[in-house]
């Protein structure tokens, strides 16, 4: 109750006291155990009602076709670019990336005016081997200036940050070519770096950048990319929905199919804005964790890791038993707001 205390408040209180006592006495025989609505000190009551509600989920299914991307595909569509060999013998990987305004149905029924690389969230998963030459033909097809800022080694001119030259802020209708060698090996990311930065990232301008070591990583059966992010659909600088690969609850409603004994490698990137941390928890299993993927020796054997913004790492695990297994942010609030998925493990 607020500090304003009117005659009506007084009457309410008086009357409620009456109602409380009146119905408590008059109706005690009528109320079921754990179901009494007539007591007057609710905060002190402990009830053991059965918890039989629905599980958190969105209602309906987003129109993936209209969105132009599907998290099922994003999981595994590694983009090695248009490959050729330079006179020096170095492998050249060329990419065409365009920044576009696009309305994306982020949860069923809600279209969010997103900013995207190539019309999808997250943007293309750029994958190369250490030492390859990367050449990105970036053009801005939106009505705001944007850039591509890669994590990794490169010249200042190629940093994609305002003030670093023409690539720092590519104006609408203009283009720029980012060119650098892929190094160091590891799991990296790229994102727009134009002010206001939080908005430019949160609206969808981010993607994964994987640099494989020269000798490659030990072979596994399945590799997948998971980008953890959120959407602030009402622009109050707080996320309303959370997800891996953009669409909340997608892998809860469409479990990822794997086999018993298959070795799985997940490239996990956190690009969540507005919240300080994100996390990943795997059910009924443990994984080897390679922070930033810059070492071939795992740093930890665990079932839960925490990532701050732009932190990333590689997870490797195998399921021993068939079944349905959850994976989700152990920041459980994020999980119930969309960042929850399932592995369906079969023989």
């Amino acid at each position: 109750m607020n500090n304003k205390f009117s005659r009506r408040d007084f009457l309410k209180i008086g009357g409620l006291a009456v109602l409380g006592t009146a119905s408590a006495t008059a109706v005690a025989q009528n109320s079921q155990p754990g179901h009494n609505n007539s007591h007057v000190s609710p905060a002190l009551q402990q009830h053991d009602d059965g918890h039989e509600g629905d599980l958190p989920n969105t209602v309906g299914e987003v129109d993936h076709e209209k969105n132009g991307f599907n998290p099922d595909d994003i999981l595994t569509d590694f983009d090695y670019g248009k490959t050729s060999t330079l006179p020096s013998g170095q492998t050249l990987r060329e990419y065409e990336i365009i920044a576009l305004n696009k309305n994306v149905e982020v949860v069923p029924g809600i279209e969010y005016p997103a900013w995207t690389y190539n019309g999808r969230i997250p943007g293309p998963t750029i994958r190369a081997t250490e030492g390859d030459r990367i050449r990105i033909h970036f053009s801005n097809g939106s009505n705001h200036p944007h850039s591509m800022h890669f994590h990794g080694f490169h010249a200042g001119m190629m940093d994609g940050v305002p003030g670093s030259g023409p690539g720092g802020m590519v104006q609408p209708g203009e283009s720029f070519v980012y060119e650098f060698d892929a190094e160091p090996f590891g799991l990296h990311l790229y994102h727009c770096h134009v002010f206001p930065l939080a908005r430019h990232i949160a609206k969808g301008l981010y993607g994964t950048f994987i640099v494989d070591p020269k000798q490659g990583r030990p072979p596994v059966d399945r590799e997948m990319v998971m980008v953890m992010s959120g959407f602030d659909v009402d622009f109050d600088d707080a996320n309303d929905f959370y997800a891996v690969n953009a669409i909340p609850f997608h892998y809860q409603n469409h479990p990822i199919q794997i086999k018993v004994g298959e070795k799985i490698r997940v490239y996990l990137v956190n690009i969540l804005e507005f919240d300080l941390i994100n996390s990943f928890h795997l059910h009924a299993n443990f994984f080897q964790y390679y922070p930033t993927g810059t070492s071939l020796t795992p740093a930890e054997f665990t079932d839960t890791i925490i990532q701050g913004q732009a932190q990333r790492g590689i997870l490797e695990f195998t399921y021993k038993y068939p079944g349905m297994y959850m994976f989700h942010a152990h920041v459980t609030e994020f999980a119930e707001l969309g960042w929850n998925g399932m592995f369906e493990v079969t023989e």
Binding site: L16, A17, V18, D54, I110, D240, L337
Partner: protein, 395 residues
Amino acid sequence: MTQQPTQTPRFTFRTFILLLLPILLLAGVIALFLSTGGGLNLDSAAPVEGLDVERYNLTQNVIELHVRNTGPEEINVAQVVVNEAIMPFTITPNTAIPRLGRAVIQINYPWSYGEAYGVTIFTSNAIAFGVDIPVAFETPQPDSATFWGFTLIGLYVGVIPIFLGIFWFPALRQLGRRTMTFLMAATAGLLIFLGLDTLAEALEFAGEVPSAFQGIGLIGIGAVATFLLLDAISKQQTNASADETQRRLSIAFMIAVGIGFHNLGEGLAIGAAYNVGEIALGTFLVVGFIIQNITEGLGIIAPVLRDRPSIKNLAVMGLIGGAPAILGAWIGGYTPSPFLAVLFLAIGAGAIFEVIYEIAKLIQKDTTREPMPMTVFSGVLAGMLLLWVTGLLIK
């Protein structure tokens, strides 16, 4: 009225056309405006939406929200979040809610007794509307138990104090004319205080009424219409009988009606408060509020102290003044509606102010026989102070 054929305006076809002409022109202007926009750019950058959660209903593992679209256009309910969890929901009759249309959203959620919940409703335009459930407990359903509970509240709030006040009748009859005038003036003071209080409550509720229903305008309509209607009834009675006794009795009845509406408003507020869980225990508050409301009974009998009203009349007046509190508690408890609350409180305010006007006329009659300006002054002030001071003691 005298009839003079030459001057009687005749309703001809020509008159009809002339009456219709501005309406036809209006239709044309609207059509033009709708098709061209009238040269104004009326596209807003963001959609303007309004969604009011009029009430919530909690049953075991279910949260039910009764919502109304108070925005200018149709809206679509897209997702519902309960305490930081996106929850599946069903909505009837439709996810699309037309302007001023209503819908019921049902969420199967395992809420716990005594805890607080916040529900956020996202429309398809990503506009969030929230409702707080400060204390979750099973919403009283219209069964015999809560029915009896609300009835008891009404009895304590309305009926008992008023009858206690009426029981002063035999004693007060012994008083002299001047004291009776003082009591009348005190009644006027009481009513002024109650009238202001009722008006303030109406204004408070008006803030909760969806803007499309224009709460403040509703207060004006309710109050002014009641005032004028009671005034007309009273004038009719004055014309019908010149009997002073009868007239004072009808004023007493009107005071009872005014106080009845006031108590209806109080009952609504109490019932509604019970529904949202604003509960606190305080026996002394109940006692205090019986003390304060006893003055309402006193006010009802003040005009008829010098007469011999029948016991039946006194009883009926007591019921008219007090019983609406029971009705109010039922309505407020089962279907709380700020719209109804504003309407009833406005009617109450109108009735009370009209009765003050009637009492003023009675006092004026007394004072023309025997001037006693200080009696009137001190009476009115005493009446107002009585409510103010009892209020202070309680709070």
